[in-house]
């Protein structure tokens, strides 16, 4: 499985994402610049955290207009895994690949800490190595992470099992339905505010994010063998 990590101007978690896959998981991973127009030869694409285009207008709003975006949308449409963390999640919602939007945190503050999460759906390509209802902890680091969608959309997310991660115990940012991460209806596009790539080694003090990458790679292995 060959994985692309897209680098936008203002991305700052691209190296974390790359190293989680490369150094820790020994995966076949490559940086792809936002200038590129193609993702040919890649089996999955990941959008890192950061502040693409300085969060001008709205977080993720301008990255939608980069050269690489049509190729990301084509991969999503083809059913291939597309993942976005933090700013990557914001970009996926702005691009219409995921429903809803990310608003500024209710507290109006940038929040950076480990938060308890519940794995709500462990049957996605990104979460098959977790247990359903398992309690994990992952770091968040964002100012605009309050998930918002209208009632109809929220009901649809609940009904289709598209809510993958929920904030457990406390809701740090005002997200509706305590949403920390969702997929599209088909389940191949995941966006989440927490940073699994910052929790992949004991040295980092937390390894709860590792299984997200292992899920994706395991899924790729199963597919390759089939």
């Amino acid at each position: 499985m060959r994985i692309a990590v897209v680098v936008f101007p203002g991305s700052n978690c691209d190296v974390d994402l790359y190293e989680a896959l490369h150094s820790v998981c020994h995966a076949d991973v490559e940086y792809v610049s936002h200038y590129q127009k193609s993702l040919d030869g890649f089996d999955a694409v990941m959008l890192p955290g950061g502040f693409s285009y300085g969060d001008y207008l709205r977080a993720g709003a301008i990255a939608r207009f980069t050269n690489i975006m049509p190729a990301i949308i084509a991969m999503a449409d083809a059913g291939k895994p597309v993942f976005g963390t933090c700013n990557g999640f914001q970009i996926l919602t702005e691009a219409g690949l995921l429903p809803g939007a990310l608003k500024p945190n209710d507290s109006q503050q940038f929040i950076c800490k480990n938060v308890p999460l519940e794995v709500v759906n462990s049957e996605t390509v990104f979460t098959n190595q977790y247990q359903k209802h398992e309690r994990i902890s992952l770091p968040i680091a964002h100012a605009d992470g309050s998930y918002y969608a209208d009632e109809q959309t929220l009901n649809r997310l609940e009904r289709n099992n598209q809510i993958v991660f929920r904030y457990a115990e406390e809701n740090p940012n005002g997200s509706l339905h305590n949403i920390a991460g969702i997929t599209n209806e088909r389940g191949n596009v995941l966006g989440m505010m927490p940073h699994p790539e910052r929790a992949v080694e004991l040295l980092l003090g937390n390894t709860d994010g590792l299984r997200l990458f292992e899920s994706l790679l395991e899924n790729g292995r199963v597919k390759a063998e089939a």
Binding site: G100, K103, S107, Y148
Partner: protein
């Protein structure tokens, strides 16, 4: 040339934490008569278009970029047309 001011705000149903915080600050100045504040942003846009073309252009710009209709809405004013 036409100058247009486009105002973008949250939909009434969406909680506006910035407006809420500003309201509390205003009240702490002693202005108890202030009961609500909504924050938003505006864009001054200069176009070569005039007349109905302005309305069409503003709608497209708002729909495709300036407004996230999941949570926001907009109005606009034509400031001057020359």
């Amino acid at each position: 040339m036409t100058n247009v001011r486009i105002f973008v705000t949250y939909k009434p149903s969406v909680f506006d934490p910035q407006g809420e915080t500003i309201k509390e600050a205003i009240q702490s100045l002693g202005h108890d008569e202030v009961t609500a504040v909504k924050a938003g942003k505006f864009f001054d846009v200069t176009l070569t278009a005039t007349g109905e073309d302005v309305a069409r252009a503003v709608k497209e710009i708002a729909d495709q970029l300036l407004v996230n209709f999941n949570m926001e809405t907009y109005t606009y004013q034509v400031m001057e047309e020359a």
